[in-house]
Symmetry: C2
Subunit: 487 residues, 2 copies
């Protein structure tokens, strides 16, 4: 098929090559039902209209594009679509920041102080908390709001400290990768005191499940730091408590939300630590995995790769599970960089050599043909988070995102949202929109969406038995979605 | 080599995989001499320093980065480096716009008028020219300048009309692809009256050869419109005259510039024409190829792909050479688009089906695994013009340019400059800088540069005998370059 001599191009051969190429993409071999084909025709029409616009959302910064996407009929459909699982989401960015402001900061005993770098910190306490270094004195928000005629300005200014999303010019607010990462990490510090308070910790997670469930996501693999959680009197709970709490709330949520398949936890640690702290963390994770074999999926590191130590630096710690026969699956962030050829850029290969189960981001994968080949052959899926990569300034126009290439080749990929609360998204639909319209271009279709959803089950950490159950439930919901949306 | 079991990563195996990957890139299998290795160590050090800067030039718009690049020691070396041939350059953008202002517009009989869209038009004439529609009355520049104390402002304003380069914020001046293409095409109209005047036509081309030669480029394949060239009295010359003139001047230039290997012409026509005009153009090109078999290389179309007709629309015209047995090699621009899945996006496959000898840009090639495979297997090189793609807004950060991936896989590529005069570059060195530092990252090395230069001979339209001669001359100059720059 791939040769053609010196002759007038044969339209039949051309058609065959075009079909061959179309069949190679994500979803290119999915067999469609009549109803799916009808829905696809509708989607194709919508996408053509969307592509003809001068303000094409995937070419724009998401912060500018969000309102356009919200009103897009494709987005409306994607919200209703059963998307399977969200496999790359972080614990303290599951929920939109508005919820934190309107719910968490309105609870009693919530104190706030302003840092000298114009950020904020929070703490819940039954008595006046001890002052923080480089922070104003603590103010009880209840008292502060009582003195105001209207708390809107205060609430808005709190909101700005809890999310990267802004309605100002995002290029001006975040001019560089360094700048946006600094702000990103500072905003995590700001919300830390809110979300690690035991009552909020529980409700935040429950609210997160609700938002994903509402967005028609049926399963979560949550990267969780399992921090020390505190009570009003200053007493604290350990990591086991946090994990146990997630497990309890998940069960409680599943009992009242039909079709929700659950959550599994990927325990994370910041990559800024040294080798001995990492060794302890891995040992602790091995123990947690032993004690929560079903609920805990595995282990990962968080924080900016370019600034942290490479995986290879931690190789001794990361070899402990295999050496000691206590298996601990890895789900490494790797290749979330555009620094080609540096030590950090080796993380992709090293993640694979360390038998990672999936690759978080893998933005640099195309620059590494050996790693790419390994990822494909071993079925190590790449967790693609388009909006995250754009907001964190790895790529401007999402049509240039490397996952567009991965999708052209049906490389194993899943779509996820990384930190929806930080990026002003919710659930998975915004990232599915960018993947379907931006990465996929005109050529991706209902089969692509179907396969992306199925990939999220197929490449999850669930056992094959669980996967079969989840897939059956997903298929039931998918059929319902298709039949309800074919007009 | 590509498998590794569940075990502690073996540093030896890791090293082997890293080496394998390094060997797969452009230049990865080039065997280096001791002197080359020494020069490479120097280059590596320079590149590490360059990469550590916060204002990393390949991540910036070229218009902002140009001064940084100019003072870069890597750039200094690249200027001296024998780069082989420039295989993708357009006739009326070979020379910097300053030359047009300072030389062409200062010649006698040069009239200028201002269009109502605030652009300018020029004509040389022995008498007052007839007025142009939508243009002010013609002013003789000689007279205008005589009346001024200082012509600097006038010259600067003319300059701004002849190049896209600007020292203002390029994102603000050219906010969208549509906008930058409109300005691009208008600036061509502005310089048209200058460069199609017979005396300027000759000197412009000679100056172009001089600038490429000075930049250590030894050979050119020039995409040329072969326009109607006019004399002071309004009489005109046809395409044969233009081609003949290029040939004469090339010979004259070669006689006085040792080691310059010549120019071959790729005749071009604007893709905006209809099928019957295209048929005539192809027929004329076939005749020219017969009459100038050595000097003329082949045929191509110019103008923005997204706005023009796709290659497939012209398939009958483009099949004429094969049908009639009068061979006409094609060098099609294809895939200079980010509109994935449109008709225009099929140009890549169609160019290959029409047996193109090379692909101009191929920016979308990674989205087309079948076309990519064909291009690789048939040795159809991609002409990569990084600065052009950035200025015309296909990609912002050049580290995300798809040719970074092509170079990771040693896909057949050559580096070229497309329209140096329009983009504020000169010769090939700026684009080599972006390719070496931006696309190649830390991992590209002296072997990559060597192979890129050799590719430009290997994938030229020269016969193998000519290629061997050119390669020998290039090697002689290369050895000299290496020995002179190892300190
Ligand atoms: Zn993440
Ligand atoms: Zn071109």
């Amino acid at each position: 098929v791939l040769t053609c001599g010196l002759s007038i191009p044969d339209p039949g051969q051309r058609e065959a090559l075009m079909q061959l190429e179309a069949s190679m993409q994500t979803g290119g071999q999915v067999v469609l039902t009549d109803a799916e084909r009808q829905l696809d025709a509708l989607l194709f029409k919508m996408k053509q209209e969307e592509t003809a616009r001068t303000d094409f959302p995937p070419a724009m910064h998401f912060f500018r594009a969000r309102d356009l996407i919200r009103t897009s009929p494709i987005f409306g459909l994607l919200q209703k679509m059963p998307k399977g699982g969200a496999l790359h989401v972080h614990d303290f960015s599951m929920v939109d920041a508005e919820w934190l402001v309107k719910n968490a900061t309105y609870r009693p005993h919530c104190y706030m102080c302003c840092t000298d770098s114009r950020s904020v910190r929070f703490i819940f306490s039954s008595q006046q908390p001890k002052p923080l270094p480089r922070c104003s004195s603590w103010v009880l928000l209840e008292n502060l709001r009582d003195k105001m005629i209207n708390a809107t300005d205060l609430d808005n200014s709190i909101l700005r400290n809890l999310t990267l999303f802004t309605d100002q010019d995002p290029e001006a607010v975040y001019p560089s990768q360094d700048e946006v990462w600094d702000r990103f990490e500072d905003k995590f510090l700001a919300l830390w005191g809110l979300v690690t308070y035991a009552l909020v910790f529980r409700d935040y997670y429950y609210q997160g499940l609700t938002q994903f469930y509402t967005d028609n996501v049926m399963y979560l693999e949550l990267r969780a730091l399992l921090p020390e959680v505190y009570e009003l009197d200053g007493s604290t709970h350990n990591r086991v408590w946090a994990l146990k709490t997630y497990q309890d709330i998940t069960r409680q949520f599943m009992a009242t939300h039909s079709g929700f398949f659950g959550t599994r936890i990927i325990v994370t640690i910041h990559r800024g630590v040294n080798a001995s702290v990492m060794t302890e963390a891995v040992e602790e994770a091995m123990k947690l995995k032993k004690d929560f074999p079903d609920f805990m999926a595995g282990f990962d590191m968080v924080g900016r790769e370019d600034r942290g130590r490479p995986l290879w630096y931690f190789r001794d710690a990361l070899s402990l599970p295999v050496e000691s026969g206590l298996p601990l699956p890895f789900f490494f962030h790797a290749g979330e960089t555009d620094l080609e050829g540096t030590e950090v850029d080796q993380n992709l290969l090293d993640a694979l050599l360390l038998n990672t189960s999936r690759i978080g981001h893998g933005f640099a994968l195309l620059h590494h043909p050996v790693a790419k080949d390994l990822s494909r052959k071993r079925g190590v899926a790449v967790e693609v988070c388009p909006i995250s990569n754009q907001v964190l300034k790895l790529v401007k126009d999402l049509r240039n995102h490397p996952a567009a290439v991965l999708m052209s080749e049906n490389h194993p990929v899943v779509i996820s949202s990384d930190d929806p609360g930080m990026f002003g998204t919710s659930g998975l639909s915004y990232d599915f929109y960018e993947a379907f319209v931006g990465l996929g271009g005109i050529k991706s279709h209902i089969g692509s969406l179907k396969q992306l959803a199925m990939n999220s089950i197929r490449y999850s950490s669930l056992t094959s038995e669980q996967q079969n159950k989840a897939m059956a439930e997903w298929q039931r919901r998918w059929n319902k979605f298709v039949s309800e949306n074919v007009f």
